[in-house]
């Protein structure tokens, strides 16, 4: 029952803010194209639901696809960088240097290279997720307690066993930090990619609604986008809680805040 109490108060606060918003818009007669009232947004959302849902489906797939791609590539790459001197010396600095390139600035080039279809969207989502994941994965593998490794080496365990039983579990908290940052970045990446060039998806709808001064439709779309972002973030956190209960429980115990 404690989770009900945990979400009851934030939920109450959200409702209060919405009520004040609604009241203020009505009281001061704010025009709809500047700031629509929550009820107007809701009405718009239900009216345009099929189209917004269709867009959400497209954008959601871009987010998940780019995110999954980043996980699939960053983990093996981080393993290589952490345990191979050549990769640590030559490959990693190059990747870190590439990290400072503003990905969004080069996104228009992806459209020229890959067209306005899936590939340019996945590329941008991937790039925005990939770097925080890689950096956190590498930090996780490198940050292992030296004395734990001393103990492990004294058992004569081979590299394979060391990796699966010691190095990987010990890196998991840091890996999940990267996943959580990636989850947030993925949503931004998908929308920006659709802004640049697309004919469908929530980013495309946003541009269209905005161009027609349909503020309530813009807000409705933003809420759906935020809902997708929240869903992915909490999905990652849920998996984290299942995968490394020893760490999440410890974090709660010591009431240490989010480290993203």
């Amino acid at each position: 029952m404690s989770w009900i109490r945990r979400i009851a108060q934030p939920l109450g606060l959200v409702l209060a803010v919405l009520a004040v918003w609604e009241l203020a818009v009505r009281l001061f007669e704010v025009p709809n194209y500047l700031l629509p009232a929550p009820t107007a947004i809701l009405a718009d959302l239900s009216r345009r639901w099929p189209r917004i849902l269709g867009g959400a489906w497209i954008t959601g797939l871009e987010i998940l696809g780019g995110f999954a791609l980043a996980v699939a590539i960053s983990l093996p790459l981080a393993t290589g960088i952490a345990f191979n001197a050549w990769m640590a010396r030559v490959v990693y600095p190059l990747i870190v240097a590439f990290q400072v390139v503003p990905k969004i600035a080069i996104a228009p080039i992806f459209v020229i290279w890959f067209g306005i279809g899936w590939i340019s969207k996945l590329t941008l989502v991937f790039l925005l997720c990939f770097f925080p994941m890689l950096v956190n994965n590498v930090a996780g593998f490198r940050g292992i307690n030296a004395e734990i490794m001393d103990f492990a080496r004294s058992t004569g365990a081979n590299a394979w066993r060391l990796f699966w039983r010691i190095r990987l579990p010990s890196a998991l908290p840091s890996i999940f930090t990267g996943l959580r940052i990636g989850a947030v970045n993925a949503v931004t990446g998908a929308v920006v990619a659709e802004f640049i060039a697309s004919d469908k998806g929530l980013g495309y709808l946003l541009l269209e609604y905005n161009g027609n001064l349909l503020a309530s439709a813009v807000f409705a779309t933003v809420f759906v986008l935020s809902a997708i972002g929240l869903a992915i973030y909490y999905a990652v956190e849920g998996i984290e809680r299942l995968a490394i209960p020893w760490h999440t429980a410890q974090r709660r115990n010591e009431s240490v805040g989010e480290q993203t």
Binding site: E147, S154, T155, I166, S170, W246
Partner: protein
């Protein structure tokens, strides 16, 4: 793994290099530790006693000289050992029982067949009922007990302990010392026990090596002739007081200890 092994250091020294700077941590050291002997090393902080232990364990190479454990010269991490460090270094992601069994899994042994023995040992150090807890749910003393059981579960011929009780409160420390003596008497093994506590070294060991400040060398080797089990009463024996006094005087001579406090304010 059964039986015990001798440990021999012949001219083993350690010099650390950082860039052009070299620090001599240990002057060449010769020690012969008999199979089944409880050998304590006592010395001030920074005298290189932990370095000595890590060299014996094969975790760091000696700069010169040779170290042998059993018949083999140490060139890589020695596996015929159980190691206990000052901090418990448990695996956060495993339960108490899982941490103990990790020793066997990493060695490729059948962990499940050791489970009854693991439970028995955990019971013996007062951890019955905590087998399924995670390290973060335990106190510092309990974690260290888990680390000790983990170092004993595979019944290694050699036990290496680096200030294992250093981070514990006095009461827990005394209890673990008594437990350790009992365990060692029940299952003899060669023990190298590093400590900065003179009392602890004298109460536990067959021989005590007293080390000088850095660069570390063995200043004196003392044979402790106290009957076993020494238990809690040994502190009252005149022989105990005499040896402790001898070591204390040695530290006084070397300036490791000062007879009267020198710190003043203002």
């Amino acid at each position: 793994m059964t039986g015990t092994l001798p440990i021999r250091l012949a001219g083993a020294s350690k010099t650390f290099r950082r860039g052009a700077q070299t620090t001599e941590a240990l002057t060449p050291i010769d020690i012969e530790i008999a199979p089944g002997e409880f050998f304590a090393v006592v010395g001030p902080s920074g005298c290189g006693k932990s370095t000595l232990l890590r060299m014996i364990a094969g975790l760091i190479p000696a700069t010169s000289g040779t170290i042998t454990v059993g018949a083999g010269t140490v060139t890589k991490p020695v596996t015929e050992v159980g190691i206990v460090f000052q901090s418990p270094v448990l695996l956060d992601w495993r339960t108490v029982l899982g941490n103990v069994l990790a020793q066997l899994e990493l060695r490729g042994l059948d962990a499940t067949s050791y489970e009854p023995q693991a439970r028995r040992l955990l019971d013996a150090v007062g951890l019955k009922g905590f087998e399924d807890r995670y390290p973060f749910e335990l106190s510092g003393g309990m974690r260290q007990r888990v680390a000790i059981v983990r170092a004993l579960i595979h019944n290694p011929p050699v036990l290496l302990m680096d200030e294992p009780f250093g981070a514990l409160d006095a009461l827990t420390r005394e209890q673990l010392r008594l437990d350790l003596e009992a365990l060692w008497l029940a299952k003899p093994k060669t023990v190298v026990f590093i400590t900065h506590s003179i009392d602890e070294a004298v109460l536990l060991a067959d021989r005590v090596a007293v080390m000088s400040p850095r660069p570390g060398s063995i200043e004196r080797l003392l044979t402790i002739d106290l009957p076993r089990p020494r238990g809690i009463a040994a502190r009252q024996l005149p022989a105990f007081t005499k040896v402790v006094e001898e070591v204390t005087n040695l530290f006084l001579e070397r300036g490791v200890l000062q007879a009267t406090g020198k710190l003043s304010l203002g």
